[in-house]
């Protein structure tokens, strides 16, 4: 398939036409951004994996008390399980709303799509708000990162996770505002972008699904 990689073909845009941005490549079956986001998520698995590995290593290496239990604090008793449980529901809800947003966009309904993206963004705000409340509760009990490695890894992992949530929220905010201009010119490409961000968001939810029991319940 020879095509003129000519800037002029693109309505005078300065950007050139990159093939398979919207339509999938026949032999791989994916479009570019989908492969790109899965590769990025693979690297994120390794990032959080390294932190889980650190948690396991530090926990296993901690001395055991005479009664046979680990000298590490128990999450159930030192962390705040109720807010975290609520957060888990909030995040799962946001995963549903983002995938519903994508479904509506595929049906051609921008209005409903944007509503669901807005709900997802709202869930993100709620999550961060509850998290801030949780942190403040910990500080009130004088549980700081420097207090014990358990709190150190708790704050680091949930903090990094929170940064990822924030990143996703910024992207959703962009798509709700400036980004939705693309719907007029290239609706399929816009829909793909929501799918890709949705994949990232689901991954953030997935990390929390493992983080929550590991830190709070064990």
């Amino acid at each position: 398939m020879t095509s003129h990689a000519d800037a002029v073909a693109d309505h005078g845009h300065h950007e050139i036409e990159i093939p398979f941005n919207v339509t999938p490549r026949p032999d791989t079956g994916v479009y570019n951004a989908k492969l790109g986001v899965w590769l990025f998520l693979a690297s994120e698995v390794m990032l959080f994996g390294a932190l889980f590995s650190s948690l396991i290593l530090l926990r296993t290496g901690a001395p055991t008390l005479p009664n046979g239990l680990s000298s590490w604090p128990v999450g159930k008793d030192t962390l705040h399980v109720l807010p975290a449980t609520v957060n888990t529901f909030v995040l799962i809800l946001s995963s549903v709303t983002v995938v519903l947003a994508w479904a509506n966009l595929r049906l051609g309904d921008l209005k409903m799509g944007r509503i669901f993206i807005a709900i997802t963004l709202l869930c993100g705000f709620i999550f961060m708000g509850i998290k801030a409340y949780e942190y403040s509760l910990s500080f009130e009990h004088h549980h700081y990162p420097s207090t014990h490695n358990f709190f150190a890894i708790y704050f680091t992992m949930t903090g990094l996770h929170g940064l990822h949530v924030l990143g996703g929220m910024i992207v959703f905010a962009y798509f709700l505002t400036f980004g939705s201009k693309m719907w007029k010119t290239e609706p399929a490409r816009f829909t793909n972008r929501i799918e890709v961000v949705g994949l990232y968001w689901h991954f953030v939810d997935l990390v929390w699904i493992f983080l929550f029991p590991t830190l709070y319940l064990l």
Partner: protein, 636 residues
């Protein structure tokens, strides 16, 4: 034969084949001019500074990386001055500040800083950006027939992220507490309690790692998705395979180091104890932190990256050498399929050998044996690749131009580097050799006369493509021979020093050791003189490079008939002009019909057939592309 027929183009008679080439060129130039006229011209800052064109980004990476390589090299010169003549006053030392070198005598703390930053700058700011960011960015889309990378804006973001990381790292030199001084490996507990410069190092690393991650996603998607029609995986130039595996290594191995850097930042800034054991005593006082940390956790996470990292350093170099060898022997690579299989296997194995850097940390026998075994296994694919490259020379019509000289030198130099790695991979031998100069000799052989020579080869080889001018051959050969001799003079004696027991990271190079004093005395000054010689050898290269680069910029390109001066088959040479067209790369995206190394095909008239030619190009039946050109024919 029709090929002997002469045609007249304008007022010149030429063979039909040459007429065809001239007319094709004319057509390309006409189309390019047309396109430039129709294109809205971008402002300077969007065309050259914040560009999304992979070629501009490649040049940006290349230029920045070469500057950092020179900086790292200068740091090394200062170190070698100290090692050759410990305690001597050198006025050039004062360049790094009176506080670090009072009266021109380097302080031990400053030596540590030089050592740590030399390693960091060379690896993360020099070689990886040059090999992957510069060569990879520029050549991969061209070699696979793509109009650009899959995510051009992400590409631009990767470069600027790297640039920011470089700024952060570089600015740490000017901080009053000094720069990082815990080695390029940044081992805790020392790095946890070191001066502020270490925090700069960690922040710089976060930028650099992010840049690499974004870049690697771009490379993998581009190579898999944007290859031209007919470009199957087994028709890739070997360079593309090398870059694909390298990108997977960067993608999956870097994040643990990013996590570790975050943990170390937490240790330093939030006073956590991830890597600080309980009851740590610093300068006679107990540190008073919560404790419970494990310094080995850092080592595991660090080396999980840093081992694949060394393969990131060598694979693009192997790719470059393979391209140049195939081209300058005028025959296909021997064992192409084996080489591809070998690098894929190498990439996979590189993730499971990391703890051979930790043999002396008290690991149990089972786990040590595991890592020793995997390390021995991983030497096999390297041998396969090197052997295939050696055998590729057999029966070739070898052209000894400057890129080929560097590529040929790569082979035995990498061989020495690889072979000296074997005792280090055996736990028992490593007991004696770990943290000695033997290790420094080993890895420098692989990276300096190995990778860096391959980088030079690549610069000489692809300079005509990027600028439309060839670098001067005579001065190229001068650069090569003096560099080769000096670089061996620096690094070979290191093996002897290491075997004699001289530790690395010693401020005086072994002077204070009774058992090693003699060998240190005998070898260090010689090595330092060779280092200065190596610096001198780069001068003709710098002049050659800048003269020709500037000449190209002011428009003094050499004849466009020279757009493929090496007569190469791969797409970046055969299907584009030199330099390639603006954004979009190709007049028409090529279709690929052949493998990458169709040199000396029996029965062909030329000794090379480009990948995008279905049959050997023949002149068009009477006429040519520009009908208004008067074409007369006469039999010879």
């Amino acid at each position: 034969m029709a090929l002997k027929r002469q045609v007249r183009v304008g007022n010149q008679w030429m063979y039909a084949r040459d007429a065809w080439r001239t007319l094709e060129e004319a057509r390309r130039v006409a189309l390019e001019e047309e396109r430039h006229e129709r294109q809205h011209d971008l402002p300077f800052w969007r065309k050259y500074i914040f560009s999304t064109d992979h070629k501009v980004i490649g040049i940006q990476y290349g230029f920045t990386a070469l500057c950092f390589l020179l900086l790292g090299f200068c740091l090394m010169i200062l170190m070698r001055l100290q090692l050759g003549w410990p305690g001597h006053a050198f006025s050039v030392m004062k360049l790094i500040g009176e506080g670090r070198a009072p009266g021109g005598v380097l302080l031990p703390e400053a030596y540590n800083q030089l050592g740590a930053m030399h390693g960091t700058i060379m690896i993360f700011l020099g070689i990886v950006p040059l090999a992957v960011g510069a060569f990879g960015n520029y050549l991969v889309p061209l070699q696979i027939g793509a109009p650009d990378m899959a995510f051009p804006k992400l590409n631009m973001a990767s470069y600027w992220c790297y640039f920011m990381g470089g700024v952060v790292m570089f600015s740490s030199f000017f901080y009053s507490g000094g720069t990082a001084n815990s080695g390029w490996t940044s081992y805790p507990p020392l790095s946890d309690i070191a001066t502020h410069g270490q925090t700069f190092w960690l922040c710089g690393m976060v930028f650099l790692i992010t840049s690499s991650l974004l870049g690697s996603v771009n490379f993998i998607v581009t190579i898999i998705q944007l290859r031209a029609k007919g470009m199957t995986f087994m028709r890739f130039p070997f360079f593309v395979h090398a870059q694909l595996v390298t990108s997977f290594l960067l993608l999956l191995a870097f994040p643990p180091l990013e996590a570790a850097a975050v943990l170390q930042l937490m240790d330093r800034l939030a006073h956590t104890s991830f890597f600080l054991p309980t009851g740590l005593v610093v300068s006679g006082q107990v540190l008073g932190n919560a404790g419970g940390g494990n310094p080995l956790l850092w080592q595991h996470l660090f080396w999980f990256l840093a081992h694949p990292e060394v393969y990131v350093l060598i694979l693009p170099a192997m790719g470059i050498v393979a391209e140049i060898i195939a081209n300058n022997t005028r025959k296909p690579l021997w064992g192409y399929r084996s080489m591809v299989g070998a690098v894929v296997f190498l990439g996979f194995m590189s993730f499971v050998v990391w703890a051979h850097h930790m043999f002396l940390t008290g690991m149990g026998t089972v786990i040590s044996a595991f890592f020793q075994t995997t390390t021995m296994i991983i030497s096999i694919p390297s041998v396969i690749v090197l052997s295939a490259l050696f055998i590729s020379l057999w029966g070739g019509s070898i052209r000894f131009n400057t890129p080929m000289l560097f590529a040929l030198a790569f082979l035995p130099m990498f061989g020495i580097g690889g072979l000296t790695g074997l005792p280090l991979g055996l736990a028992t031998a490593d007991l004696h050799l770990h943290d000695t100069y033997y290790v420094i000799g080993h890895f420098h052989y692989v990276v300096a006369p190995g990778t860096i020579f391959a980088m030079f080869a690549g610069v000489y080889y692809w300079f005509p493509k990027i600028t439309g001018r060839r670098l001067n051959e005579f001065w190229g050969k001068v650069h090569f021979w003096i560099s080769l001799v000096c670089i061996n003079g620096i690094f070979f004696p290191m093996f002897m020093q290491g075997l004699a027991g001289v530790s690395r990271r010693l401020y005086d190079g072994g002077e204070q050791y009774a058992h090693a004093k003699l060998i240190a005395h005998q070898t260090n000054p010689f090595m330092s003189i060779c280092a200065i010689g190596l610096l001198a050898a780069q001068v003709p290269f710098l002049i050659n490079f800048f003269y020709n680069a500037i000449a190209s910029l002011v428009g003094r390109r050499q004849e466009i008939a020279n757009q493929n001066p090496w007569h190469a088959t791969t797409l970046e040479w055969a299907a584009t002009t030199s330099p390639p067209l603006g954004h979009g790369n190709f007049v028409e995206i090529p279709v690929v019909y052949r493998g990458p190394y169709e040199y000396s095909v029996p029965g062909a008239a030329n000794d090379w057939i480009p990948q995008h030619h279905e049959t050997e190009p023949a002149p068009p039946p009477g006429g040519g592309m520009l009908p208004e050109v008067a074409v007369a024919q006469r039999e010879m």
